[in-house]
Symmetry: D2
Subunit: 409 residues, 4 copies
């Protein structure tokens, strides 16, 4: 009751005022699980390329909830029945959809808690919160895990035009300053409707959808798969792998209580329990950065050098090309490094490595974006007349990259 | 030479593209002293109120340098003579003006390295860099320390309309989403000129200057002196003071290598040397946050509770009023807390305390903002006809605040 | 019924999408009386100074209606009771508030139909429309003419913070490109409330209100009272006066059917009837511009010269000063002109004349802007602590101007 | 000399301040030929769909000149040699590129002065001005007519990425409020360069170019070829044709002096002379609107009805489809109208008619947009890897439309 009168409005650089729709939402935001997201960078280490990109999962989650409110308003205005319980569940589901993200958003997934994606952890957090909140999150959990009978609900959470994407594309474009990647989320939402339990876009929205797809593609090439971001992300993942490797082999290295916990134990999807989740709830970007600051003085060549590289932005060089890299070229590069610093092949492979990046602007195999025509037909946007190019954009683009130290040149 | 071809342009959410004007500027930005600013929050813990406010001193410094380029272009276009050496020195001086900021921008100044302002430390860093860069920063240092014979140079670095203010007001308004605080920096710059070695604003800019002063005042009341920011900042300062107190009294508490250094030694303006500066160069926001995360488990009531408060955003209550607070009211509040948790008066005073905030939109005593009229006269903007209100705005406003735990109610 | 499916959304450069809330609003917009506003420039001939300022009364009226929807939503959300009939009446009243504007918004009022302000004509149009729409505008008319028992309704239409001002200040700032004059209308609206049947602003909105007043003042000096606009407006008024004078004296001059009607007859507030209103409904900017284009070839020195001046932007010179102009200085200037072109004193007085402009940012005598404090008191914003400057801003500023031909120099 | 001190800066809602680079540019803008552009709507009658679209050719021409300044700065910065004479000529050429536009931009071309495009008339005006300005426009005329030896100069005036397009796409998107059509002109310009006398875009600009093409396509479908705009433009053209037909057949209809001139005489490209050009220089939107206002009372069924339709926005219905319209369907519709109003087949064909619209986002046959790769190769953007979709976009899309009166339903 009292919380009713507390914070009700949040200032957002993008949407202006965001209203918190109910007291349970307010309490969830106040919860320390959610407050942790203030310390989880939305775009990992992309700020090394785009200095403005220091926004957090906290803002994104609240932004996505704001857009969900707009979507519910639009749909209800158009005659779609959504009950008060259902709308609150939608807000909760989108608010918590990323609560399982670890430090730098994706760094943990590919290193320390391998094999467990952040969605699974989000679900675990929701269950935990559901206990604390007397099962008031049950419906939200059903929607989030796609177990609710109304299909379009899940599409709003996780689909081609979900509120997650509509917020993060806009937000990431805003904070990086890559204005060409900006999308008009509110306009797209205003053209949504539901036909036969499926989310559709009104026909007149065809150009906006196309613009959305192109903007998304641009953000991938220009921002998410930016050379330097790619190097930084790879280095971060390898740093954590190295730390885990060292600890597993009995080397003592400095780390915060909670990071140590994860470096020391081996976790699988099955073995996660409340205790582990609680440890996870204490991890954030600071644990990683602080570890780097300490690790730069460690004896291990790999650990200290990657730490320095990330702290001082003295990263690896990267080449990107369509063809695979020549094995000999890679081997030579590694040899050079091994000779220079008298390190083993295994150590060198932390600094000389290859990989692939892929980008598919629009997938025609999975779920489609459907238009609803004036003739009341539902058609895939890729098949709408005059849009041949979407078929082209649905081809997956694969590129190869190779990283190696600048000093190798 | 090679650096010429490296990074030359930086994306900024506010100004779009920022060009790096020369290779020495590029190298200074790449220096680890400057890269550290990526980990220093521009607005301290204000993100607890404005979730978007995660921008850093790094961005601000580069933004201010960008505005300095605009200012130099404008002045040169209007016939003010500025040599290539002078303009580069101006860019360096503004780029480095905040390099001496510690974690959360102001937290250190009022606690651990008391008595030493960040400008002094900036100057020390500049001297250190000057050695590394073969005295190429000498002119920049002269300008920064107001020892250059052309007075308006210093005004561009530190004056009523300096590039520092013109960037941070705009930037803070942008990231907090408090759009009413926004100023039109580029427009103000376009109306600058120099008369008798003094920076002036063309007469037609009178309303823009007025708007600037009002926006600044609004930012102070609404953002910088916002209740919750104030509480957070006070708590942060007190947390560090407590840590120092404990360490001084022989209590062992967990802290990063570099934070420990400062908790353990007593530093005065005179005693600072290269070694201490090097330690300082390793401190950033992460050291503080990581310390809090560890300190929340410490035995000390004050240390653990303030840490939890800041981490989970469960802050003190604050009251603000014109009159001083009643001594008895304060005392009562403290007694209640002491009784509740069986703590000493000294410990309670970390949670129940009073203070003052002041705001003066325009000072008529110090340096003025001068208008240059069509009759070629220079007059203080406050004396320009029809602007009586500036005189009113130059009155200093003082308010009293009192903080105490929510549980006291 | 059919109209339900017609145009429902209007694109606006400022607010994005504007929704038309009901079918009667839609039909009123479609009415030829309202469509005429597409041909009435919002800012008279200000586009001679600000080339972007070609926006029309049509856009402004719809924009103000959009803001009224926001205001009603806000107030209803805060518990103010507003029935569906009342809200529709508010939308109609604000939509039609400017429907009585003649060509170039104010040119007619001060020349051809002297003594009749546009509000009176708006009311006449509303009555006319009320007949056509089966008295469905009755409540709107009551509100517009301040005859409705709920006082704050009229304040939303015509008050210190009415939707008219909140739209035109924002819109004029947008189209002129004078971004410093911009106000945050949506934010101001979000802080409105009603206390004892009076519109109030929540206390926290104090800085926003101040910003609003300053922005308004800036728009007056920099835009509405801009030297060149002033000259153009004066010339336009004098041109129409001259035309009327000539026609009254039997000179035949070319003019459109509807403009001729008004040049030929003398109209008073009392004598206006349906027929005259119908003639008025056919007048717009084109009648005036086309007349000028024709009049530039007329024999009359005054008529042809003012026409050319306005068409080719070769305006009079203007001086502005606090003191009154010296009578001799004026007389001399006139003599010079008379001698140069062998014209009479009466003719010369169309090109050499004086006048006054006044600007009062905030009037304390009339209706005030009231703040509603947390202590639930209502206070005038000018008396709120720390805002002395508003008292200063409430002083009326009066300036004198004098116009004369450039060739006089 | 005096003009130096006159107007030097123009406020633009889009770019902020626009600087007038030299006194001849200033004098050209002041010329009555150019001032006329203030009365020529940039987007014809599109304001009937987008009420904000009242911007003029005047603003567009100045905006394009502003972008040309940016382009010259960028190219010079990158080492392209452009002399002061050349850059001034570029500014003049782009400033005057649209000076030959008649009322509503395109209405005349397809009706009254058929067979003469506005570029030809622009060239005639330039020649006329060249006489007045003592041949100081000679170089500009060479560039504008593609007779200058440096090819990329013409590309800046009229090419795939010319300053004309870069301004009008941005400007039209801004004023219509169709924000998805916005392009980042300044960013595109910043990536231009010249290789072998040909304008190229740096490779990293590939996504920006793609975005530009998509935005342009969207503007065509959503704005320039918008159903209602299309109807209005067709009606306007037919109205003027009807007027000319009537006059040619001896019917006396009311029209301004200058419009009458063109209704009465038959003009071919060859027959245009100074006198005709002078008449043309007096025509603008007002002549057309005023004519309509008069013509709505004429006896001729076609003339009066189209006039009313355009004035009161009661337009024809339009259907658009890929296939051609059935002849019988068209015939039936016409018959119905003929019967209803007892009009001839010829008269009815003004209200029932068919036509085609085409849209080609990117033409691969004509001039291409070339990228300049890091390997210093020049390649067509359509052949750059991963951009198959541009090939698709280069297919021309043709659609059929049919218009008929609403009353026919």
């Amino acid at each position: 009751m009292n919380s009713q009168n507390k914070l009700k409005i949040i200032n957002d650089p993008i949407y202006g005022f965001i209203t918190i729709p109910s007291s349970i939402i307010f309490e969830l935001i106040e919860h320390r699980f959610f407050q942790r997201l203030r310390r989880i960078s939305q775009m990992g280490m992309s700020y090394l390329v785009y200095p403005g990109a220091h926004h957090t999962r906290f803002q994104h989650a609240i932004g996505a909830m704001h857009l969900m409110q707009k979507a519910v308003q639009t749909l209800v205005f158009k005659g779609v029945k959504i009950s008060a319980e259902e709308s609150e569940a939608l807000y909760i589901a989108i608010l918590l959809h990323d609560i399982g993200h670890g430090p730098f958003s994706h760094a943990m997934e590919h290193s320390i808690v391998e094999g467990i994606d952040h969605e699974s952890i989000s679900l675990l957090f929701m269950s935990e919160l559901n206990k604390e909140f007397n099962n008031r999150l049950t419906l939200a959990i059903q929607i989030f895990s796609d177990n609710y009978h109304r299909n379009f609900f899940y599409q709003l959470i996780s689909g081609q035009l979900d509120m997650d994407r509509l917020d993060y594309l806009k937000r990431d474009s805003f904070y990086t300053g890559v204005s060409e990647g900006s999308i008009n989320s509110e306009r797209l939402i205003s053209m949504l409707n539901v036909v036969e339990d499926k989310l559709v876009v009104e026909e007149k929205g065809i150009y906006s959808v196309e613009k959305f797809i192109i903007a998304r593609r641009l953000m991938y090439w220009q921002v998410y798969l930016h050379k330097t971001s790619l190097v930084a992300e790879q280095l971060l993942t390898r740093l954590l792998k190295r730390a885990k490797y060292l600890v597993t082999n009995g080397v003592v290295i400095n780390a915060s209580k909670h990071l140590s916990f994860f470096l020391n134990c081996s976790i699988t999807k099955k073995s996660i329990n409340s205790e582990i989740l609680n440890e996870f709830a204490n991890l954030d970007d600071n644990d990683i950065i602080s570890a780097m600051k300490s690790w730069q003085y460690e004896d291990d060549f790999v650990l200290s050098n990657i730490s320095k590289m990330l702290l001082n932005r003295e990263l690896l060089k990267i080449e990107i090309q369509i063809e695979a890299f020549d094995r000999e070229y890679i081997s030579e590069s590694k040899q050079k490094l091994m000779a220079r610093y008298s390190i083993t092949d295994e150590e060198a492979s932390y600094f000389v490595f290859i990989g692939q990046i892929t980008n598919q602007a629009y997938s025609m195999k999975k779920e489609t974006i459907d238009l609803f025509t004036k003739q009341e037909k539902t058609i895939d946007v890729a098949n709408a007349s005059d849009h041949f190019n979407l078929k082209a954009l649905s081809k997956k683009v694969v590129k190869n990259y190779m990283c190696y130290p600048k000093t190798n040149n």
